[in-house]
C-alpha cells in the first residue's frame, strides 16, 4: 500500500505525538467540569469519527447509530449485573466489552445484508427504524429494566478519580477510532469505499466487491459505537433506555461530522468540540433559549458551511495558494 499512499510525514507524527502528550496531561490540570467536557468531546467526537467510517467514506448516512450505542451499554450492563458483585468491576467491564462487541457484531452482520441494499434516504430511515425498535424492546420487556434503569458499580483503578479514569478510557477509544480511520483511508478497502461513495454502480462494474466492503465498514462502525456505549454507561453509573437509546445521539454524530467536515479525521472532533462547548458552556445557563439557539447554529452551519469547517479551511488555504500563485505569475 505504500505504492499509492505517500508515507506519513514526520511533521504529522510530531504533531500527533505532541497533541497526545497534551491530552494525557489534561486530567491533572483541568477542573472537573472542564474535564467532563473533554470527556464528552473525546467520546462523541471519537464516535463521530467511527460513524464516518461508513457515512464519510460510502455516503451511507446512518440515522440510527444510537442502536449500537444502546446495544453496547445494555449488553455490558446486564452482563455485569449477572456476574454479580464478587467479581471486580474492572474485570466485569472487560468481559462486558467483549460480550458487547460480539453481540453488536452479530446484530450488525444480521441486518447489514438487507439494510445495505437500500440507498440514500431509505438507508437512513431503516437505521432510524432499527434504533427505535431496539429502544422500544428495551423499554417493553422487563428483563432489560430499560424504563426504570439500573445502576452500575463505580470503576476505580490506578488511584485515579473516576472522572480522570474515564477521561483516559475515552481518550483510548478516541485514538482507536482515529487509527482505524486513518488506516482505512490508506488501505485498499478504504479506496474501494470512497469509490462506492462516489458512484456505487460504477464501482461495482469495475469489480470492487461493494457488498463485502460495505459490510466491513458497517460492522467496524457499529462495533466502535458499541464500545462507546459500554464506557458511557459505566461513566454515568446508570443505564436506562432514555439515556442510551436517544435519537439525539444519532443526530449529533452526523451533526458533528457535518460541522467539522465529513470524510476528514479532524472534522468530527472539531465539530464535537464546538457543539459541546456551545451547548454546555455558552448555552448551559440560558434556561429558555438554548434549543432555539442550537437550531439557529445548526441552520447557519448547514447553509453557510455545508462542507464543514475543514471544508472552509481547505477553501481558504487553496485560495491563499492560488493568490500566491497568481502573485508569482
Amino acid at each position: 500500500m505504500g505504492a499509492f499512499n505517500p508515507p506519513i510525514r514526520a511533521g504529522f507524527w510530531a504533531l500527533s505525538g505532541l497533541l497526545l502528550l497534551g491530552a494525557l496531561v489534561l486530567p491533572f490540570v483541568l477542573a472537573p467540569f472542564h474535564l467532563r467536557l473533554a470527556q464528552q468531546i473525546l467520546l462523541f467526537g471519537g464516535m463521530a469519527i467511527g460513524w464516518s467510517l461508513l457515512g464519510g467514506f460510502t455516503s451511507y448516512w446512518s440515522f440510527g447509530h444510537t442502536a449500537f450505542f444502546g446495544l453496547g451499554a445494555f449488553s455490558a450492563g446486564l452482563l455485569s449485573q449477572q456476574l454479580g458483585p464478587e467479581m471486580s468491576v474492572a474485570l466485569r467491564l472487560l468481559i462486558g466489552l467483549v460480550f458487547a462487541v460480539v453481540l453488536t457484531l452479530i446484530a450488525a452482520v444480521a441486518i447489514a445484508g438487507p439494510v445495505l441494499k437500500l440507498r440514500g434516504i431509505y438507508f437512513a430511515i431503516a437505521m432510524l427504524a432499527f434504533a427505535e425498535i431496539l429502544g422500544e424492546i428495551s423499554k417493553t420487556f422487563d428483563f432489560f429494566q430499560g424504563t426504570s434503569g439500573f445502576p452500575l458499580p463505580t470503576l476505580s483503578a490506578l488511584g485515579l478519580q473516576k472522572v480522570q479514569l474515564f477521561y483516559f478510557l475515552f481518550l483510548l477509544l478516541f485514538v482507536a477510532n482515529v487509527v482505524v480511520f486513518v488506516w482505512l483511508r490508506r488501505s485498499r478497502l478504504g479506496i474501494g469505499l470512497i469509490c462506492i461513495g462516489q458512484d456505487e454502480d460504477t464501482a461495482a462494474m469495475l469489480g470492487i466487491p461493494t457488498e463485502r466492503y460495505k459490510l466491513v465498514a458497517f460492522v467496524l462502525s457499529a462495533v466502535l459505537t458499541a464500545i462507546g456505549g459500554v464506557l458511557y454507561g459505566y461513566s454515568l453509573g446508570f443505564i436506562s433506555s432514555g439515556s442510551v437509546f436517544r435519537i439525539d445521539i444519532s443526530l449529533n454524530l452526523i451533526l458533528y461530522s457535518m460541522l467539522g467536515g465529513i470524510g476528514t479525521v479532524v472534522g468530527p472532533f472539531v465539530g464535537a468540540a464546538i457543539m459541546i462547548i456551545l451547548t454546555q458552556v455558552v448555552l448551559g445557563d440560558l434556561l429558555d433559549l438554548h434549543m432555539m439557539l442550537t437550531g439557529t447554529v445548526l441552520i447557519a452551519m448547514v447553509i453557510l458551511a455545508p462542507k464543514g469547517l475543514m471544508g472552509l479551511l481547505h477553501k481558504a488555504w487553496s485560495r491563499r495558494r492560488a493568490a500566491a500563485g497568481e502573485a508569482r505569475a
Binding site: A31, P32, F33, H34, R36, L37, Q40, K139, T140, T147, S148, G149, P151, Y232, L236, G237, F238, S240, G242, S243, R246, D248, I274, I277, L278, T279, Q280, V281, V282, G284, D285, L286, L287, D288, H290, M291, V297, A300, I303, L304, A305, L312
Partner: protein, 412 residues
C-alpha cells in the same frame, strides 16, 4: 443572503460564539460576599417541562420573598441574600450531570433536585460524592433512598410508601369495592406507582382485575378501554402523567366507558384538565399533596394563606402543588441553615436530617433515609366537584363529601 458574503457571516458568527464563550467561562465564585446560591437543574424542555416550570416558579417566589420582603436572612451572625442558579437539563441525564458538576466546581453547596428519578438518581450520586446537599421535590423512586446516600432529601415519601393514604381511602369506601384495575404507561414513574398501588390494593383484599400497560406516550387507549368495558372494575386507577391521563379520560368519555370510581394520579390537579372536561370531570379522584384550604403556618411566609396571596401577587401562572413544594424546599433549607448557624454542608445536613417544621406546604419531616415521612408528608385524596378540587379524605381535613359511586359520563 444577498449583500452579506458567506465568509463575513461566518466570521461574525464565530466571533460572537467565541465572545460569549469567553464571557461564560469568566464567572464569579459562588459563595462571595453575602450571597448563597442554590444550584440544580430542571427539565425545562421535554415532556416534563410543564412541571419544571411550576417548580421553578416556586423557587423564584421563595427567593424573591427572602431577598425583597425580608431583606435577606441572618445565618450565624451574617446576613445573606439568595440567588437561584438553575439550568435546563432537557431531561437528559448526561447534560444534567455535566452541568451539576460545573456548579460543584464553582463551589455551590446547596442543590435543588431536578424532576424525574432518572435524572435525580445520577445527579444525587455526584452531589453525594462531592459532599454537597440536595433537597428535591421532583423524584420519589425508592432507588434514590436505598443507595446509602446521606446528603439527599426528598419531599415526598418514597414511591412504595406513597399509596398509604389512598389504600386507606379505598378501605373507607361504602359500598365496599371488590375489584380494581390499573392503567399504566411504560415509564419508570408509572411503573413504580403501579407496583405500589397494586401491592397496597391486594393488601386490603381488593382483587386486581387487569394491569394494562400503554406505551410511554399515549395517543390511543382504545384497546385498554375495550378491556375495561368488558371487565369493569369498581375502581380504575391510572398512574399516568397529566397529558396521558387526559387522553385516557377523554377517550373514556367518547367511548362511553364507565366505572364507579376513576382515580387519576396526575391530571385533575391541573386547571387545564378540568377546563377541558367541563362538567364531565366531576367525580374524578386524584392524589392531593396540597390544597390551598389546608391552613399551615410557615416560618418565612407566616402561613399558607399569606404565601398564596404573595405568590398570586407576583405570578400570573396558577399555583400547583409542585410550586408550593418547591418554595417549601427553600424554606426548609433556610431553616436548617439558621438552626445550624453556619453554611458548612455537614452542619446544614445534620440540621436538615433533624427537620421537624411546618411550612405552607404542610409538615416537613424526613425519614432516616431522606424521603418524606409517609404519614406527615403523605398526600391527601381529592375529588373534582363542579370544576373545583375538594379534599375528600382523610375525613378530618375534608372540604366536601365524597361522591361515590360516580354517575355515568352521559349524565354529567
Amino acid at each position: 443572503m444577498a449583500g452579506i458574503s458567506r465568509r463575513s457571516a461566518l466570521g461574525a458568527m464565530g466571533a460572537s460564539i467565541i465572545g460569549s464563550a469567553a464571557l461564560g467561562i469568566r464567572r464569579a465564585s459562588a459563595q462571595s460576599g453575602g450571597v448563597i446560591y442554590f444550584g440544580g437543574s430542571l427539565g425545562m424542555s421535554g415532556r416534563y417541562a410543564e412541571t419544571g416550570l411550576n417548580i421553578r416558579h416556586g423557587y423564584e417566589t421563595a427567593i424573591k420573598f427572602l431577598n425583597e420582603e425580608m431583606g435577606g436572612v441572618e445565618i450565624g451572625g451574617k446576613t445573606y441574600r439568595f440567588e437561584l442558579a438553575i439550568v435546563d437539563d432537557a431531561s437528559d441525564p448526561a447534560r444534567a450531570t455535566a452541568l451539576i458538576q460545573r456548579q460543584i466546581d464553582k463551589d455551590m453547596s446547596f442543590f435543588l433536585g431536578s424532576y424525574g428519578s432518572n435524572i435525580v438518581l445520577p445527579c444525587a450520586g455526584i452531589t453525594e460524592a462531592a459532599g454537597k446537599l440536595t433537597v428535591q421535590v421532583g423524584a420519589s423512586a425508592d432507588q434514590i433512598f436505598q443507595q446509602g446516600y446521606r446528603n439527599i432529601f426528598g419531599f415526598f415519601p418514597r414511591a412504595s410508601r406513597a399509596w398509604a393514604t389512598s389504600v386507606e381511602f379505598f378501605k373507607s369506601l361504602e359500598p365496599k369495592p371488590k375489584k380494581v384495575s390499573i392503567i399504566a404507561t411504560n415509564d419508570a414513574f408509572s411503573k413504580l406507582n403501579t407496583q405500589a398501588a397494586a401491592a397496597g390494593c391486594t393488601g386490603i383484599g381488593l382483587e386486581v382485575l387487569d394491569l394494562l400497560q400503554l406505551p410511554e406516550q399515549v395517543s390511543d387507549a382504545s384497546s385498554a378501554l375495550a378491556t375495561i368495558r368488558a371487565r369493569t372494575p369498581d375502581i380504575l386507577i391510572t398512574t399516568t402523567v397529566d397529558q396521558n391521563s387526559l387522553v385516557i379520560v377523554r377517550q373514556m368519555i367518547a367511548t362511553d366507558t364507565n366505572v364507579p370510581l376513576l382515580y387519576q394520579f396526575l391530571g385533575p390537579q391541573l386547571p387545564a384538565y378540568r377546563e377541558s372536561l367541563g362538567s364531565k370531570a366531576t367525580g374524578v379522584i386524584m392524589q392531593l399533596p396540597w390544597d390551598s384550604r389546608l391552613a399551615f403556618s410557615d416560618p418565612i411566609f407566616r402561613d399558607s394563606k399569606s404565601y398564596v396571596a404573595y405568590y398570586n401577587k407576583n405570578n400570573s401562572r396558577p399555583l400547583s402543588y409542585h410550586t408550593v413544594g418547591a418554595s417549601a424546599c427553600i424554606t426548609t433549607y433556610v431553616e436548617a441553615m439558621r438552626k445550624a448557624g453556619s453554611l458548612d454542608p455537614a452542619k446544614v445536613r445534620a440540621a436538615l436530617a433533624a427537620t421537624d417544621i411546618t411550612t405552607a406546604f404542610g409538615p416537613v419531616k424526613f425519614s432516616p433515609e431522606g424521603d418524606g415521612d409517609p404519614i406527615l408528608m403523605g398526600a391527601k385524596i381529592g375529588q373534582v366537584q363542579n370544576g373545583e378540587v375538594q379534599v375528600v379524605f382523610p375525613t378530618e381535613v375534608k372540604t366536601a363529601n365524597l361522591i361515590y359511586p360516580t354517575s355515568n359520563w352521559s349524565t354529567k
